[in-house]
Structure formats: structure tokens, C-alpha cells
Symmetry: C2
Subunit: 319 residues, 2 copies
């Protein structure tokens, strides 16, 4: 297990991922309360809102109110999601509160791109060029390349490694043409197709070809394999993971209502804590934030760690 | 990943584990229906009942009716659980339907033994000797050594590898004194303390010391790490796992109401199928049995795979 990292960074995406998929309206006040609770846990990066088309994602019609309303904690980077220059401009209005950098996102599966964004490969390439231009013109660096459906797709089935590297090539061509480079490439298991073996294959292929790119993992726990996939990522030395408190979220375009969402932050922190990998996160505080998230959404979240609690509580009682 | 086995055996314990912990009474008819559904999935071993003290585990007062009532399928081994010679005699009445072999079970944590069985180390040793004598006198082979709380204990905290090897020594001393040997040693994570790292340490230590003993794993998903622990077991070449359909069960003596139970059989099968490890199990049929189990207990079971379904369904639709 010599590749296990000493330390990882978790980007908490619960507020953004979770509140876009919940059926009931979540109040602005509750969104802010969860962000503030998460800020106190030691998490280093929290994605707080989505500046997306509010007719497609009505749950984020209050993005401005949320981003303007939480209490920033020194040392925590707050991020937001957007897909085009219009969203970027909405985010830029909060550049004193948000870490503003752009991403270029491709899907390894064209079928998912069609369903998720209603764009074919050529259309998506053009859109990403346009988005990149808009960012650079506004002085916003484009630092991340994201590959959705990196491990499989509900609409097109298995995804070959060459489809992932093809998507990365598309992204790198844009960077080359505009004269910048990405800091990281994020491999997203948007629909829960990953297994540890696929993680090893895809991460291995990407690293071998582009050793200069930092690889991060965005994993879902759709079929119960999410934490085993994260563990394989740790074994390979991956140091950046997205996760959501309580396992909030899921993909609204994946055609699987009721399926669990992202890997739960507290399960990832538990795994790391127990293996001596630093996360900087106070697990008990994170579990408390997860319980708040459950109260807010009004139903049980999928995280098992939320239910069972940390081992340290038992250790203290046993001592 | 060179140690990944070609094939594993899953002992399905859903009927026994699940129905001992559910709060509502489960009818004999429903128990039999689930066993018959599981028999059709390709599972090779199904633990169907518990011949235990019915005043402690009232859910199994109908063990005789269940074991007498299911329809045995050729090629499937049906097993039952018991803790003493009285239980064994009840099982022996069904030796035409059950595979009858005995086990000696020790806890790596004395505190758990006290809570679970109300016996200290010396008392438990004496009880295990007596049980062994009873089995051998009745011509029932004692083939398995089980170590409960092999990875940690809610009552005493962390468990050292030496406590596990100590429990195995206790068991081996009995075998030596009575002139038999075990086929396997089962390491049980009774309260969900395992991590992949602990699995590697404990399995490694046991194998190094007793290479002749087959190691099997009984894992719980109490904190969401169950499948990552199973994956580590697979990586180490472990070929025998206990699991329960839907993730039925949990330990009634573990002081954690609401915490998830065993690893879900369908998540383990999914992991294996997707990595090319044979289980002999039809995943879609197993998921159907899991849905039946949910209907029977009247609430959602923790398995994510049950909710999301197999990938093969998506592959067929995509083709």
C-alpha cells in the first residue's frame, strides 16, 4: 500500500449537488445554514451553489442569495458551478466570496452529452471553445478539465479508455489553441459505473499519457461500490476527491430516480482517518452537518457512516 | 491485481441474519418464500435458520417450520446456525435438508463475548469445549473456527492482531485436544470496525501463521466501508464471503440500532461480476429476491445496488 497518500483534499459538493436534485423546495436559509455548518468542519473546499439555467434547475434560482448570504470562514475556498459565460458572469459578481476559476467539461459518452446538455460532439466542442473564450476575455483562468461518464454510461453502456483519453484530447486542444494549461483533470463517474478495476485502468492510462496533469475523482455510490472505488483511487495515490455530506445528490439526468448520489464525505473521511490519511476534517462535526442536511431535506440520506457514527466515539467510551 | 481470485463462494445469510433483527414478526411463509427465491439465483450456500434460544431470539421460534418448509434445490447447500449441542440436536432432525457441520466461535474482544454471550474468556472456552464434545459425540464434524469482532469492538475499541491470533489459538487448542482440524477460519467484522488496511493486516497475519487454514470474511457495512473491505479481501485472494441479500441484518447485540447490517450480496456480486470474478449468481435474479425481502420486512433495505439495478440492464438497452 505504498502509494497511499499522506493527505488528501476533499471538495465538498453537498450544497450544490444535493439541493439541485431534491424534489421539495429547499429554503435559502437552510442552504446557508448547511454551508455554514460545513465551514466549521475543517473542509478546505466547499462548492456552494450552481449558476445554471434556472428554468432547467429551478432549485438554484436563489444562487445569488445563497452565495451572498453564507458566512465565509478564513482558510476555506468556496466555489460554484456554471456551464457558460453567462453563469460565469453571475459568479463574478461574488468574486470577493468565491474562488473563481473555470472548467471545461466533456463527456466520454456522446449519448450522455446529448441527454445532459442536448449537444452532440461537434456542438459541445464549439460550446466549450466559446465558454473558454468568454472566461479568458473576462480574465478568469480555466484550470480544470472534467470528463463526465468516464467509467460508463446509462445511455451508451461501457466506456472505453480511448473515449476518456479522446475527451481529454479535445480539452487539451482548446487549451493549446488559447495558450493555457489545466491544473487538473477530473474523472467523473456520473452514473455509477466505476469499479476499482476500471478506476485503476482509467487513472493509469491518463497518468501514463499526461503525467503532468493532477487527476481528481468524482465518484457516485449508485451501486454501492463508491467507497471501494475511492479506496482504489487512494491506493493509486489520487489526492483530490469530490464528495457530498450524507451522500446528498445524484444526477438529475441519469434516468435513475431514487438511486444514491455521490460518495458520502463522512464515509471518505472515515476511510482516510482510519488509515492514517489526513483530510483536515473533524469527522464528528461533519456527521453533525450531515444530520442537519437530513433535517433540511426531510428524509434519510444514504450514508451509513451518518447512521453509525465515528469509531472515535466508541473508542472514548471504551477507554 | 494479480491475487484477484477467478471464483468466489458467497454464503447467503439473509434469511438467518435478517429475520433475527427485524422488529416486526416475519411470517414463516415469508421466510420460506425468500429462501425459495434465493435458491433460484445460483447461490451455492444459503443459511436458512437459527436454532437458538427462542427466548433471546424470538424471531426464530419457527426455525423447525422454516427448515421443514422450504423447497430444497439440488446443488444448493442449506445451512443453519446454532451455538450449543441443544441447537445442534434441533438441526440434526433436518439432516436430510441441511448441511450439518459445527463451528467453534470465539470473540477477539472479551467485552463483546460478555455482552453477546454473557461469558468471560474462561467461561467461553469451557462452553466451546463442551459444545465441541457434544458435536463429536453426535458424529457432527466441527469444521469452522469463527473469530467475532476481529477488527474492532464497540465495547472495547480497537482490537489488536494478537487478540485475533489469540482467539484462533484457543480454537486450535480445542481441535488439537479432540483430534480434528478446521477447514476454515472466518474473520467476522461483527460491529463494522474494519478498513481495507485492517483487513490486509489481520488476513495477512493469520495466513502467514496458519497457511493451511482457508480464511473467509464476514463483513458488515455499518459505516459504509463494507464493500471496500470485501474488495481488499478479493485483492488478497480471499475466496469465501458471507453476505446478505439487500444488506439484511445487523447485530442485535452491537448497541447501534438503525445501523446497516451485513454487506449486501448483490453489491458483492456486482463488484465481482464487473471485475470478471465468478460467483455463479444471476445478479438480476438476486436483485429480485432483494426486492422480495424489502416487501417482506416492509421498509427499504440499505443496499444501493438493489435500488439502482445491475449494469447489464443498461447495457442491453444501450445495445
Amino acid at each position: 500500500m505504498s502509494d497511499l497518500p499522506k493527505k488528501i483534499v476533499i471538495e465538498e459538493q453537498g450544497p450544490r449537488e444535493g439541493f439541485q436534485i431534491e424534489p421539495g423546495p429547499i429554503s435559502t436559509k437552510d442552504k446557508i445554514a448547511l454551508i455554514d455548518a460545513l465551514s466549521a468542519t475543517g473542509l478546505g473546499i466547499i462548492e456552494v451553489a450552481s449558476f445554471v439555467n434556472t428554468s432547467l434547475v429551478p432549485g438554484w434560482a436563489d444562487a445569488e442569495a445563497v452565495v451572498g448570504g453564507f458566512t465565509p470562514k478564513p482558510g476555506v475556498a468556496y466555489t460554484a458551478l456554471w456551464f457558460n459565460s453567462h453563469g460565469m458572469r453571475r459568479a463574478l459578481a461574488f468574486k470577493d466570496r468565491l474562488q473563481i476559476d473555470g472548467a471545461v467539461a466533456f463527456s466520454a459518452s456522446e449519448a450522455f452529452s446529448l441527454k445532459n446538455l442536448n449537444r452532440d460532439h461537434a456542438g459541445h466542442l464549439a460550446a466549450m471553445r466559446k465558454t473558454t473564450e468568454g472566461h479568458l476575455a473576462a480574465g478568469v483562468p480555466v484550470t480544470r478539465l472534467v470528463v463526465m461518464a468516464s467509467f460508463g454510461c446509462n445511455f451508451s453502456g461501457d466506456v472505453a479508455v480511448s473515449q476518456v483519453t479522446g475527451a481529454i484530447e479535445d480539452g487539451l486542444a482548446i487549451a493549446r489553441d488559447y495558450g493555457f494549461s489545466y491544473k487538473s483533470v477530473g474523472l467523473a463517474d456520473s452514473m455509477g459505473w466505476a469499479t476499482p478495476q476500471k478506476v485503476a485502468r482509467v487513472v493509469g492510462a491518463v497518468r501514463e499519457r499526461w503525467p503532468e496533469l493532477e487527476v481528481s475523482l468524482h465518484l457516485h455510490d449508485t451501486r454501492g461500490l463508491g467507497i471501494s472505488n475511492a479506496y482504489e483511487g487512494l491506493r493509486l495515490g489520487v489526492t483530490k476527491f469530490d464528495a457530498t455530506v450524507g451522500g446528498l445528490g445524484g444526477c438529475p439526468f441519469a434516468a435513475q430516480p431514487g438511486a444514491p448520489g455521490n460518495i458520502a464525505s463522512e464515509e471518505l473521511v472515515m476511510l482516510c482517518n482510519e488509515m492514517g490519511i489526513e483530510t483536515g476534517v473533524d469527522l464528528d462535526a461533519l456527521i453533525e452537518a450531515g444530520r442537519l442536511a437530513e433535517t433540511i431535506v426531510g428524509h434519510r440520506l444514504p450514508s451509513a457512516a451518518l447512521r453509525a457514527g465515528s469509531l472515535d466515539g466508541f473508542r472514548r467510551r471504551a477507554a
